[in-house]
Amino acid sequence: MTNVLLIIFTISLLYLGIAHRLLTYIKILVFQGIILFGIAFIELIQINALNLAFVLLETIAFKAIAIPLFLNYVIKKNRITRDAEPFLSNFISLIIITMIIISMFILSNAIDDSGISKIYFVVALSTLFTGLYIIVTRHKLITHVMGYLVIENGVFILSLAVGNEMPMLVNMGILLDIFASVFLLGIFVNKIGDILKDADVDQLKSLKD
């Protein structure tokens, strides 16, 4: 069951590569949050109840509801146009993300370790690099934040791989998730919209040598 969910998660990455509208990105993030809820529920059922409740609450309430609503609010408030404005065409994006996933498969063959299930490794690293790819090839600052959230999802999957033995690490990942994304988005809501009229990377080019 986890494997099916992980594969569906990977497919959502491909969809991310060809998505054009910011609203689609938000929907994909909601979808990924729900899948992560499912994976966490199946995988971590053995850890103590309070901790499990915390993890599940984080995935469903934070990743799948609070953050997308917040993103939606930011987009409305700052009147960001709906297009994601990628630098590269969808076709190339799709090929590059596929290449990322394939190369992670090949890399995972180098693991001489039976203790860790490799599918976590593949999915998590593919998500990580897809997130980085989204960050470098999209024009808007808000898509950078979304790319960061995708990276966070990847990290969460990776932490689930050791979740049963070290629940502390899953909690740390959640801490990172909440801290960093609230802070990044908080700056966005309060400051960037007020000072910069158009939240675009071109506005942030004055500091250079």
Binding site: L132, V155, L184, D209
Partner: protein, 475 residues
Amino acid sequence: MTGVYLAGAFSISALLFFNRKRVINTLLVVTFLLLQITFTVHEYLHINTTELRYFNADALGILLLVTLSIISIPAMYHSYVYLSTKEDNARHTAFYFAAMVMLLTAISAAYLANNIAVTWIFVELTTLSASVLIYHRRNNRSLEGTWKYLFVCAISITLVFIGILFLSFTLHQAGTDDLSFAVLIKKAPELNQFWLRLAFIFIFTGFTAKLGLVPMYTAGIDAKDKAPSPAGALLSSVLMNVGFVGIFRFYTVIANSPLHTWANHVILIAAILSIFVATVYMTKVKNIKRMFAYSSIEHMGIVMLGLAAGGIGYYAAVLHIILHAFVKSSLFFQMGQIYRIYKSKSIYDVGNYFKYNPTGSLVMLLGFFFATAMPPSGLFISEFLIFRSLFEAGHLAVLIMVMLFLTMIIWAFGKNIFKLLFSPAVDFKEDTLEKINPAESISQFVLLGLVVWLGLNPPQEFVTLIQQSIINLPH
């Protein structure tokens, strides 16, 4: 004592945040400095004791903690000088000092943490508090600096976390779930090399954002440029040392595993690229503060060369990082005065500084000699030892390349500093000149004096501490 310190410092930070009165603000800051000094002395007297399970005052932690406490006093003093020259906004002042106290506390805790997960948590805290300081001026450019710093640091802290996860995969097989450095060093030879390699790559890359090495150095440059000079002094000295602590402690683990040589190669490449990048930007940069920031990148590259070369290089690397913190912070403190006279950081708008502020010019001139590691600077000793270790390790090509780069850096640095000190400034109106009190430069002279003393005639205690801090590295 660690518990008392953390609780005390965090509550002082919270009080500073809510307080708007000047007198109480000063009182709280003085209380914090006293707490910081008491804590440092206490940890020094109780070396190698573990407190609160996750904090262990080992030799490296003590050395860097003392460095931090010494720099924090002038940092607070110059903050008051800086804020008194601007129009008074009680709210911004409150945020500034609360963030600074939080930053210093988080850095101290990160130095002493004996568990890689705890180090990680406090490094994250430094990012958040530092970004408040960078945003202090609240204009377009400081927003840009803050956003970039926060974003790059968020990504790099995530990379460190991924590294920790990889580490935990292999630790689990070795039959432990303890992430403390002592256990890691003991278990290092039996860990799975594939995971260990990945963990090192990710943790190293992540911490380079703090240490200021290729590939994640960029955010730090903007941050040091946009932060007020006293905060910039902290960012380019004690905060860089946090990155060093993270890398050094994990490098010690790797050095005890079969991957030692491989890790040396990784570090060597990052170090050479950093020095190269610093050279390129030093020759073209026109902003004095950014020039200092690039000079820090160069010095961190040299420190990493020392680690990669081994032998006497280990000793020199620790010495270099401490002395560099003193030199660079005094240069940044002095930068505040230059900005008050010329109202600009660009090299085109400044000049004839000896005429307007002789004491400050003297600090600049000495700071230049010290930062480029000319005798009697202590950095001369450490750089010389690092070059010797490179020679002994057989990295002759690297040594020649680095020396060429350093020559270019000295030329570029000198060109700008001599323009600042001796060439007349274009279109500069002398009648609105602000008089600078020479007493504001005393702290810089003290810091530079420390560099000479610790470099040329180090007390036995200091040498022993450095030797203890590298005791776990193979010789």
